[in-house]
């Protein structure tokens, strides 16, 4: 493997697979947790922006009424269920690898990707309905916050789809050579995916319900 790969540097690096005796985890897992820490700061800044803009507005939503009347709560509820289910299938795909069951892994990871697509399709219908009513992000700050926060979350969902699709297809060749490392990769992708789901768990009530 080392000769074939132009990135043979990997082969020299300790703790790509076996955990570091002090931290108890391999490099990749520490890396993904640090990445998630920076993601918390990113969404933290966006939520803070939302708080500042909302608390300084004389009325919220500015055009009157209630958030739950403007946004489609039933569709968002379905979407919440879809994302939670996809988190479960993500864990199951990891567990299948732990049990050395590659076909089962493919099934569960494929389901995760499919559910992510379902989420985006529902989101698409929500967005286009708003556009039909002429409610673009420029309409007022309620829509600005709604589109920006859910839009950035949507970008993260797309990122998850790309990573998971790679791991399902070309990336899964690693299972034959380094099964433990591949299993760890699925775990790390899962950590990211749970984070994306968690962001939605905050977005749903604070945008649609409050």
């Amino acid at each position: 493997m080392a000769e074939a790969s132009p990135y043979a540097a990997d082969a020299l690096i300790p703790h790509t697979v076996e955990p570091h005796p002090v931290t108890g985890i391999p490099n990749g897992k520490l890396g993904i947790w640090l990445f998630l820490a920076s993601e918390v700061m990113l969404f933290g800044a966006l939520f803070s922006t939302y708080v500042v803009i909302r608390t300084t507005a004389p009325h919220w939503p500015p055009e009157g009424g209630l958030s739950s009347e403007i946004l489609n709560v039933p569709l968002a509820t379905v979407n919440t269920a879809v994302l939670i289910t996809s988190s479960i299938t993500m864990v199951l795909s990891w567990a299948s690898l732990k049990m050395q069951n590659l076909p089962r892994f493919r099934l569960w990871l494929g389901s995760t990707i499919a559910l992510a697509f379902v989420f985006l399709v529902i989101k698409y219908f929500e967005y286009t309905h708003k556009f039909e009513l002429g409610h673009y992000p420029s309409h007022d700050n309620f829509y600005a916050v709604y589109f920006t926060l859910t839009g950035l979350h949507g970008v993260h969902v797309i990122g998850g789809i790309i990573v998971n699709t790679f791991l399902l297809t070309a990336g899964s060749r690693m299972w034959a050579t380094e099964p433990e490392r591949f299993t760890n990769r699925i775990e790390n992708a899962g950590l990211y995916w749970h984070f994306v789901e968690l962001v939605w768990i905050f977005l749903f009530p604070s945008l649609y319900l409050l």
Binding site: A2, P6, Y7, A11, P14, L30, S38, M41, H139, A144
Partner: protein, 599 residues
């Protein structure tokens, strides 16, 4: 596996040693087969990536400096045509050879952006961090080599797009490097949008880099290299990485919000009822311009420490090596740098005393600002105490490192009146502020970076840089730097505003205009002072090979060959002692390397 040592360091070697050696041998034979574009362009080797970062950042530093030299012409001789240079820059920028005010604003905004985000951070963190940290901790490479490559290849397009924005219709961003709305949102030039896009790329690069540094320092330390045996430079890079990791995302969020304001017509930063040129703006409103300032400075204040901490790390290495004694107060330094890192997150609004955010807020941030000066003073004091009683060798890196001490001290102490609300009301947005932070960053950080270049050049090339040219470079730079920034304090105290296109429109500006002439000639002199450096940097490659470990240094990077081959160390190094064991009583030589076993 051996049991953990008392220092908390453990071995990864043990069971792996054999496989490492095998892989290394493999890689060695294979290293020669790497095609050119793998070895020099899309390299995954931390040393090549470090050099890529370093050379790119040095070019960007020169570009940023050139913008400033142009501005200095307008400031010294307002409205006077600039001969062939004016013709070269075209009629839009310099109609009739005289600088247009819009072009002046572009130069100002881009000078700051280029110097901070494309010059100093990539040089201090991207170049020195990448090249030196894995060597100093005895690692074969960074933890994620491909991520490392991706980080450089996010940085380079970001930097090039930033430069490209000058050639877009209407030119580059021109609302200051801070890009305060509403001005920045309402500016029609596409260069402002490009600034935001390029910033997102530069931020992404820093985020990827910082994750890599933290994981590398935590996971890849050599056997025996515990927390209290790390060189101070590694500690500084470690804290810096946390600052980058946690402070940059809010600016990324702010850049996205400003892009929304500019492209989608939202009003995140536009208040209700904003009147521009006598007409009320047709936007939804309800936003807050102050929100941008909070998000921007939440990054940009920790950013100040991103600029200064690696510099302090370099100075520590050079001082210990050239005084031939251990750093004074090593643990105190480490505690201070960690405390500095924490505190840097709670001082940001001292940039905003004049915004009317309220006295309670001002009092809080004034207090935290006074507190953060304490660890900075401790660090400087430790360096000063390290000099005491040392057998100092005034090598070129040592000249720059010793000059760093008073320069950083001037920069730091002049910051105190800005951190106190009462005196800040008068000094805010004057040339005093420019003088203050440039003393920290230019003769402070940049001098430390020069020290680093002279100090680690033999590591990267196997050759020593010419000491005579180095001394000429140092003394001329030292003179010119002070010629530039010292008069700015007087200009500021005389009330001269920092963003004036023509300082002579005010009587108080005309009275001190002669200072601007002194400053400008010093700036152009500073450029001439860099010529010996540039010549030295390239011509020294042709010099005879230096001895291994030419500085008689104790830290781990000198256990590797110069330049280190792929994988860095022929065999995984083992660390036996603390980093600065110089002049140990009872030893035959005056240095006792970390990697030398007991005789």
């Amino acid at each position: 596996m051996t049991a953990p040592t008392t220092h908390g360091a453990t071995t990864h070697a043990g069971g792996n040693e054999h496989s490492h050696d095998q892989d290394h041998g493999h890689e060695h034979a294979h290293g020669h087969e790497l095609p050119f574009w793998r070895k020099y362009i899309f390299s995954v080797d931390h040393k090549m990536i470090g050099l890529q970062y370093g050379l790119t950042a040095l070019v960007f530093l020169l570009v940023g400096f050139s913008l400033m030299m142009l501005m200095r012409w307008q400031l010294a001789y307002p409205g006077r045509p600039l001969g062939w240079v004016g013709k070269l820059l075209g009629e839009n920028a310099m109609p009739g050879g005289v600088m247009a005010p819009e072009f002046y604003n572009q130069l100002g905004a881009m000078h700051g952006t280029i110097m901070v985000f494309m010059g100093i951070v990539p040089l201090a963190v991207g170049a020195f961090g990448n090249y030196v940290v894995p060597l100093q901790i005895g690692a074969p490479d960074m933890a994620f080599p491909r991520l490392n490559m991706a980080s450089y290849w996010a940085f380079l397009p970001g930097g090039l797009l930033m430069i490209y924005s000058f050639f877009m219709p209407g030119g580059a961003a021109q609302s200051g490097w801070t890009n305060y709305p509403p001005l920045s949102v309402l500016t029609q030039v596409p260069g402002q949008t490009m600034w935001l896009f390029a910033m997102v790329l530069l931020i992404t690069s820093s985020l990827l880099g910082s994750i890599n540094f933290i994981v590398t320092i935590v996971q890849l330390r050599a056997k025996g290299l515990g927390f209290w045996r790390l060189p101070f430079f590694v500690h500084a890079q470690f804290v810096t990485s946390f600052l980058l990791l946690l402070a940059f995302p809010p600016l990324e969020a702010a850049a996205v919000l400003q892009l929304m304001d500019r492209l989608a017509g939202t009003s995140f930063f536009l208040p209700t009822g904003l009147v521009v040129s006598g007409e009320q703006l047709k936007v939804a409103g309800g936003g807050s311009p102050l929100l941008w300032q909070h998000l921007f400075w939440f990054l940009a204040h920790p950013e100040v420490y991103v600029l200064i901490l690696p510099a302090m790390g370099i100075v520590a290495e050079v001082i210990a090596n050239n005084t031939r004694k251990p750093l004074w107060g090593y643990r105190l330094l480490v505690y201070s740098v960690i405390f500095l890192g924490f505190m840097s997150f709670v001082v940001w609004a001292h940039h905003m005393f004049m915004t009317g955010m309220g006295t309670t807020m001002s009092t809080f941030f004034q207090t935290t600002t006074m507190i953060i000066s304490i660890p900075s003073v401790i660090i400087l004091t430790c360096f000063l105490m390290s000099l005491y009683g040392g057998a100092i060798r005034f090598t070129t890196p040592m000249l720059f490192a010793t000059a760093f001490l008073p320069m950083f001290a001037i920069g730091g102490l002049t910051g105190l009146p800005l951190g106190l609300t009462a005196s800040d009301i008068y000094l805010h947005d004057t040339f005093y502020v420019i003088g203050h932070f440039h003393y920290v960053v230019a003769p402070g950080t940049i001098f430390a970076l020069f020290a680093g270049i002279y100090y680690w050049y033999p590591k990267a090339t196997g050759k020593q840089m010419d000491p005579t040219l180095g001394k000429i470079h140092f003394w001329l730079s030292f003179l010119c730097m002070n010629g530039i920034f010292m008069p700015m304090f007087f200009q500021g105290m005389a009330g001269l505003s920092r963003r004036l296109y023509d300082p002579t429109i005010y009587a108080h500006g005309r009275a001190i205009q002669s200072l601007n002439v002194v400053i400008s000639w010093s700036a152009w002199g500073l450029f001439l002072a860099q010529l010996p450096f540039i010549w030295n940097f390239f011509s020294s490659l042709a010099r005879a090979r230096a001895v291994e470990n030419p500085w008689s240094a104790t830290t781990l990077e000198w256990a590797a060959p110069s330049p280190p081959t792929h994988g860095n160390f022929p065999t995984p190094p083992v660390v036996y002692r603390e980093p600065y064991e110089y002049s140990v009583p009872g030893q035959t030589s005056d240095f006792h390397p970390q990697f030398a076993g007991e005789a």
